[in-house]
Amino acid sequence: MFKYYGQVLAVDGVTLTVHKGETLGLIGHNGAGKSTLFKMMLGLTPPTTGEISINSTSVHGNNFRELRRSIGYLPENVVFYDNLTGLETLQFFASLKGCERDKCLPLLEKVGLAHAATRRVDGYSKGMRQRLGFAQALLGKPRILFLDEPTTGLDPEGIREFYSILHELNSQSVTVVITSHILSEIQERVQRLAVLKSGKLHALGTVQELRESVDLPLIIRVRQQCPDSALQAILQGIALDELTMADNTATIRCHRAQKMEVLRRLGSLGDALEDVIVKEPTLEDVFLGYAG
């Protein structure tokens, strides 16, 4: 897909397949093309060139209504009508989606808003609006969820509840596409990650695959009871990025290929070896490596 806004190329040749029942994380800096991609996947704006289909049905085709009913969408910074109550808001969207209005109250309960159902939305906090937005996205038991920064404004408790609902949906093989700027938050919760950079699909794969492909140095911290020189001697011949030592603690930076060799040789220290901590690069590091 390509998408031009006037002269600006917002999405630059992205080809992406989301598998049924998977949770795909979409990451990238602001302006990387995430929201444009979302809007195209929803059929809100057509790609300049390219085609998007869901279950081999084009999102712009004649069956768009049926398709939209099977999709839940939570936009970034969701905005509702201040003059409606939470329940009325949900009922309004339920009518548009053609689902039963009596499912609205149970949904509000599910996202923890039942107590505020009859309060007007203009009195809602950011977190409550976000919960209402999530309830809206869940209307009509969608098969596919597009969630743009869904945990913005939620407190840690809210974030936990959000992911527990998401987990439940996942077990019902609902397909989820999610963006987040808190990478450490989504890295344990998505099966695959797509990294967007300047409108291009920069990387695509599982968290593990991405880590391996960028080959960021690992950090190995060693506490030992032998002289520094002995440690240096043991590690002789291995290409390390860095080796620093202080107070019987050594910090080794090396690449993945050297990891096992380093650990084997450390093992030969025997009893002198007190502790080893291996620090893998975080998704943030991967993200920065790719998109930074």
Binding site: K39, L42, L44, N62, F64, R65, E66, R68, R69, I71, Y73, P75, N77, V78, V79, F80, Y81, N83, F92, F93, S95, L96, K97, G98, Q136
Partner: protein, 273 residues
Amino acid sequence: MLNIEISQIKVIAAKEFRDRIRNRWVIAVAIIFTAFALAIAYFGSAQQGEVGLRNIEVTIASLVSLVIYLIPLIALILGYDAIVGERERGSLDLLLSMPITRLELLLGKFLGLSAALASATLAGFGLVGLLLAYQIDINALYHYIGFMVSAILLGMVFLSLAVMVSVISKDRARASGGAISVWFLFVLVYDLLLLGILVLSGGSFGEELFPLLLLLNPADIFRILNIFSMEDIKVFYGLATVFPTSLSSPWLLGSVMITWIIMPLTVALWRFK
């Protein structure tokens, strides 16, 4: 292929209408209409040296002069925000992600707002009509009903123009500017221009063309629709008196009004991407 679901239009229209009932817009506008209409009905004959609820024809003529300024203004204020407001607040994307087409959204907004304006018009002027009813004949009552129907049509034309302005405008500030420009153009400037041309050309300026030019202004059509029934008070109506009877069939004029409702909505749909 036209793919329209009436139910979706109804959902949007019902929300717009209910919003205007709830924030007391309908009742406020109805009260304004009632107050003006009562004042005009009571003092409208003052020129003839009398006050009181007497001459229905003079009352309608005075009401027409009032409504021609007031209803376009109210309709434009009501409608300019319809789309650009949702876009600026950020609720439009979510709305468009629903199983709804842009045509349905536009029609729903337009019809819901029309219902609000029509309710206010019917309630406001209808109340005065009831007060007058006991002392006017069936023919005058017929004219009064015609006046209310044409007032509603006039409101719908300017709502349609407002929705068009709302779709085209980048932000709400521009939309309100656009709405006010539309009001100035059709309610004030257009007739002055025509009058100027008529005077400058010494009245020789195409007798054929002139009535057609009047049809290009919905406010003038409204005036014409409410005049020909009342021969004796044509003097109140200014420019519209040069209108030939051949073109004055209410059905023809009504159709032109409806065309005036459809055209801006069509432009709005075309520009609504």
